[in-house]
């Protein structure tokens, strides 16, 4: 048994690997979800006031991959970065880690701010287009249904289930590596955020009426980007004192 404060490294690296897999599944989800024809739009648009049969005649619908799962990578990607930084704290000497931790966090969180901001804008624009088309009967609504009306709820539930499993494995291995990680408030808030947002996504997919699942998914993608942006700003601000300290120590050593 390791002494209190010591980390069981194999378990920790397995935990990091599980999280890495989760991030890879999220970023690659758009390749696996949806795609191809989902059948005629008429089956969805038939009962909508203002839509007449000749308008949807011969119009096929796509099965969209959705953006919600992909945008979860913004949350979990930064969590992976935090875990990598934890790993560095074991691998590097205290002095070396103290020097690089602040500056690396500063640079990565700055890049994450830019990435999250750009992705939030993209999500917002697409949400505006989707909603604008959705409420514009008849042609706009038909176009919406053809592009986004058949969300692959079953496939996304399978991916979310896999992600949940990987995240549970990550958490269990992390705690098994060192129980004290449960007392690392910032890390646990980040982990909890990852779980909660993913579960909200699963509930939105499962409970919204089929034709508006894509709208809910896109709205949550925007929420994920905003949460990621706020988290990155928070990390950026809190990394500044560490950078200042590192510079001050380096400066005093040179003198």
């Amino acid at each position: 048994m390791p002494v209190l404060g010591e980390v069981r490294r194999p378990l920790f690296f397995l935990a990091a690997f599980a999280l890495l897999l989760a991030v890879l599944v999220e970023t690659g989800s758009s390749l696996a979800l949806g795609g191809g024809s989902a059948g005629p739009v008429a089956s969805l648009a038939g009962g909508i006031p203002g839509v007449e049969p000749d308008m949807v005649d011969g119009v096929d619908a796509d099965s969209p991959p959705g953006n919600g799962i992909g945008y979860l990578a913004l949350i979990d990607g930064y969590l992976l970065f935090s875990v990598v930084m934890l790993a560095l704290s074991f691998l590097l000497s205290q002095r070396a880690y103290g020097r690089v931790q602040g500056i690396v966090t500063l640079v990565v969180s700055f890049c994450w701010i830019i990435l999250s901001f750009v992705m939030a804008l993209g999500a917002f624009v697409l949400l505006m287009v989707m909603f604008g088309l959705f409420v514009s009967v008849p042609f706009g609504t038909i176009a919406y249904l053809a592009i986004w009306g058949f969300f692959p709820v079953g496939e996304s539930a399978a991916v979310l289930g896999l992600l949940l499993l990987l995240k549970i494995v990550f958490l269990v291995l992390l705690v098994a590596a060192q129980q004290k990680f449960l007392k690392a408030v910032a890390l646990m808030i980040h982990v909890a955020m990852s779980f909660v947002l993913q579960l909200v996504l699963g509930i939105v997919h499962g409970w919204l009426p089929g034709v508006v699942v894509s709208l809910g998914d896109q709205l949550l993608a925007l929420v994920f980007a905003i949460v990621s942006l706020l988290g990155a700003v928070w990390a950026f601000v809190w990394s500044i004192p560490a950078v200042v300290n590192a510079i001050r120590v380096s400066f005093s050593r040179e003198q």
């Binding site: 993209g122 505006m128 009967v137 949940l164 499962g206």
Partner: protein, 153 residues
């Protein structure tokens, strides 16, 4: 003896996560069988106006103000929105009203081609994204047809 309280809390959270996931998967509304939501009213104002300034009338189209007069086939291009932020004019809408002759309408929007036969005096809402698109009007009358583009309420 080690403090097991955090482990118990963790275990409860994991069980809660699995239950919430199953709740989501087994939800009543998912899939393509869900009903049309009440809040999705077509009368909701959404989008900016599509005006005559956005249109490029092709051969056979006589665009004067908000009226398009034509004989045979008239293809109208809806210009792409350039400049501004992506969310500005994300969708543009207008109401197309036919005159005293029936008109065939084929709309190309977001990569889809949609058609409809408009009766005399019938209204239909045209919607375009920033990318624009086209609509083709077909007149079966030898004396020509006309449609009027007006602001969507």
């Amino acid at each position: 003896m080690a403090d097991r309280k955090p482990l118990v809390v963790l275990g409860v959270l994991v069980v809660a996560a699995i239950l919430l996931y199953l709740l989501g998967v087994l939800g009543p509304g998912g899939g393509s069988g869900g009903s049309w939501p009440d809040w999705a009213s077509p009368d909701r104002a959404a989008g900016d106006p599509l005006t005559a300034a956005d249109l490029d009338g092709g051969p056979g189209c006589d665009v004067e103000g908000t009226t398009i007069a034509f004989t045979g086939t008239c293809a109208v291009a809806v210009r792409e929105v350039t400049g501004g932020f992506g969310w500005e004019r994300a969708t543009r809408r207008a109401i197309l009203t036919t005159g005293s002759q029936p008109v065939g309408l084929t709309v190309t929007l977001a990569g889809r081609t949609l058609s409809h036969e408009l009766d005399p005096g019938e209204d239909v809402r045209l919607t375009y994204t920033r990318e624009g698109g086209t609509f083709v009007l077909q007149c079966g009358s030898a004396t020509g047809c006309a449609v009027v583009l007006r602001k969507d309420a």
